[in-house]
């Protein structure tokens, strides 16, 4: 599918013989740029995405581990706290006899010692086999109460020890009951039951040293809060999130809290009691470093895409410029062929006409010549002088016609592309002869200053004629009636220079910069804009140089330079 898309895009780049319309280049530019951007940006995006996720995963692990460790450690603290209290109660149950514990004074003393040695004990009571509270020291007035029907009583009778969930006790402090059974040799047993306030729980939690925004608390397996939570309510409230699956070791879940924030939920189930320690840390807080990294990644990705875009734009630009240049060169070549074909047909026509005219001209010439011969032989011919003058005039006119046809034939001959030794002065004389009539008509002073020492150069006569014809035509178009055009040749050992100077309208710098470009014309509808570009092409092909100097309203000078031998032949 992607391949098809690329193929579709590329099909726009395929060459066709039709001349590319300018709008096509814009579409082409968009397509190429988009394609290059796509091919470069997609791997970049994939890499950035992979990087993002891999890093995030690694970072999560890095973040979860300490959380797990701290939860585990705190769970151990809790267990140690409870184990200590339980074993203290157990010790009392073992060390004292039922009788001693049943003594109110003794029990009060024991409670006092307990409270001194262990923080958190609130009361202590002795319960006999039947569930009756035999002795009690503490803030409640519970003596005589029967616990036989209570679940915990049965549990302690079966398991030997029992730690209760938290409940609200006297003075509205949360409390926990620790109960231990002692079996006597007689088979009877009694239970020592003590109440602890959970103030110590809060202490352990605060010793976890969690940052602000994080939360840690104790739950029971039923999801009832056993300590106050910063965000999930007070002690004995129902925990709003679902309970995590039981695990013997501390585990970390990634989930959302009640408000939809991503959080790490670290927890540990207590193996010997009903408690679950939970710690909740907002992800955003823990991933703060990650966000910096992500910022960098986004920046690098953005910069990469921008660089790719700029590069592809630049490359496309160059590519299109080359294409356009090639297209223009091809078009120019086509036009040149068209132009020379046109010239060729004109040339053939001219040759034919010249030939056809030359024969009758020859007849006129001979007939008139015979007339002159005959009249010359007769001394008594009336008005002999007058007739001879008239005949001479006819003969001169015939010769003028002959010159015209010869020039036409010369024009036709130019189309045969051959290199031969040429005297450039002859070529210039012949070519300027074509324009004499127009120059005469417009009273333009067309002067030739030809260096007699010009040596022959190897070149193409016809092509040279076209060059001079083009330049002289331009000069004629530039000068006003009565203006001046001067052609000068200078020969030296390496070749010939030709300077064609006119005092016409001249050109601005902007115009001068464009004159050799194809299709550039100042003649509006009259010109094709090809003359000087063809001239330039011919001069280059003949191994020559062409230069121009011009000043607005002062005139223009074309300087052409031809070597004795062209370095590269046409």
């Amino acid at each position: 599918m992607f391949g098809d898309a690329i193929k579709r895009q590329l099909s726009g780049l395929g060459g066709s013989d039709a001349v590319v319309p300018p709008g096509m280049y814009r579409t082409l530019r968009r397509k190429i740029t988009a394609l290059m951007l796509l091919t470069a940006a997609i791997p970049l995006a994939i890499m950035a995405w992979l990087n993002y996720h891999e890093y995030q995963k690694a970072l999560s692990r890095e973040i979860q581990n300490p959380l797990r460790v701290i939860v585990n450690k705190s769970k151990n603290s809790f267990e140690l706290f409870l184990a200590e209290r339980t074993s203290a109660v157990g010790f009392i149950a073992q060390a004292y006899s039922f009788k001693e514990l049943a003594d109110e004074k003794d029990l009060a003393r024991i409670l006092k010692i307990l409270q001194t040695e262990y923080v958190g004990f609130v009361d202590i009571g002795l319960i006999n086999d039947k569930g009756e509270l035999v002795n009690y020291v503490g803030p409640y007035n519970l003596k005589g109460h029967n616990y036989a029907e209570q679940t915990w009583f049965n549990q302690v009778r079966i398991k030997g020890r029992y730690i209760s969930d938290v409940f609200m006790g006297f003075r509205k402090f949360p409390h926990v009951i620790v109960a231990v059974r002692h079996s006597l040799d007689s088979g009877e047993s009694f239970i020592v039951r003590a109440t602890l306030d959970t103030h110590q729980f809060d202490k352990i939690i605060s010793s976890m040293g969690l940052e602000p925004g994080s939360d840690a608390f104790l739950l029971n397996r039923a999801g009832i809060l056993q300590t106050d939570s910063q965000r999930f309510g007070k002690v004995l409230d129902q925990f709003s999130l679902p309970m995590p699956p039981p695990a013997s070791e501390a585990a970390v879940l990634q989930q959302q809290d009640g408000e939809g924030n991503d959080v790490f939920f670290a927890y540990a189930y207590f193996p010997d009691s009903d408690f679950v320690l939970a710690a909740i840390k907002p992800k955003a807080q823990m991933l703060r470093t990650w966000y910096t990294v992500r910022g960098d990644l986004v920046f690098i990705f953005g910069a990469g895409v921008l660089a790719v875009f700029l590069a592809s734009y630049k490359i496309t630009d160059q590519l299109l410029r080359r294409m356009r240049e090639a297209e223009e060169a091809r078009e120019l070549a086509l036009r040149q062929v068209e132009h020379s074909q046109k010239l060729s047909s004109i040339g053939r026509l001219a040759a034919g006409v010249a030939h056809e005219i030359n024969n009758p001209l020859a007849v006129i010439n001979e007939k008139t010549g015979l007339m002159r011969d005959l009249i010359g032989l007769r001394d008594d011919f009336p008005d002999k002088e007058r007739f001879l003058l008239l005949i001479d005039s006819v003969l001169k006119t015939v010769m003028r016609c002959r010159d015209i046809t010869r020039r036409m034939l010369g024009f036709a001959r130019r189309l045969d592309v051959t290199l031969e030794e040429i005297n450039i002065n002859d070529v210039i004389t012949e070519t300027s002869g074509f324009l004499n009539q127009e120059a005469l008509h417009r009273k333009i002073d067309l002067t030739l200053d030809l260096d007699a020492d010009v040596t022959g150069i190897v070149s193409d006569r016809g092509q040279l004629q076209q060059v001079f014809l083009n330049i002289l035509n331009n000069a004629l178009a530039a000068v006003p009636d009565g203006g001046h055009i001067a052609i000068r040749t200078v020969g030296d050992a390496e070749g010939v220079s030709v300077i064609v100077r006119d005092d016409g309208c001249g050109m601005s710098k902007d115009t001068m910069a464009c004159i050799f470009e194809p299709f550039f014309t100042t003649k509006k509808t009259k010109g094709t804009g090809l003359g000087l570009s063809i001239t330039y092409g011919i001069v280059k092909r003949l191994g020559g140089e062409i230069g121009v100097e011009s000043e607005l309203d002062k005139g223009t000078a074309f300087t052409l330079r031809f070597p004795k031998h062209p370095k590269h032949e046409a």
Binding site: A354, N359, G369, L370
Partner: protein
């Protein structure tokens, strides 16, 4: 050999031109025969061998260059001056390569033609 004794054959399909040119040459005392096609020219050459042939290149039927080839093959001593209406075309150059004495462009100046005939006759050992 004097100019008057040079045996000249004029060949051109343009009768008005050929006849008039011949008349002008006769007025100057030259011996000139006229024919108006290549075929006639071959017959005339066979009948009476000329010293100099003045011949148009472009003719219907046998072309000037064909006759030139024939002359140079059979009678190389006959000098041929070609006439052409097309300046500097391949025909003129080709003729020179085939052994023509020279070629002249129409319309021509009579004096120039007479000069060429004199030169050609001299080479042929007549003048």
């Amino acid at each position: 050999m004097r100019m008057e004794d040079v045996n000249i054959l004029l060949v051109d399909d343009e009768r008005e031109f050929t006849a008039t040119l011949a008349e002008r040459m006769e007025l100057r005392g030259l011996t000139v025969r006229c024919v108006y096609s290549g075929e006639e020219a071959l017959k005339e050459i066979a009948a009476d061998k000329p010293d100099v042939v003045v011949m148009d290149v472009m003719m219907p039927g046998l072309k000037g260059l064909d006759i030139l080839r024939h002359i140079k093959a059979t009678n190389p001593e006959i000098q041929v001056i070609l006439l052409t209406g097309q300046a500097g075309t391949r025909d003129g150059m080709e003729g020179m390569k085939l052994g023509a004495f020279d070629y002249l462009l129409k319309p021509l100046e009579l004096d120039a033609l007479l000069g060429k005939i004199a030169e050609a006759a001299a080479i042929g050992g007549k003048a």
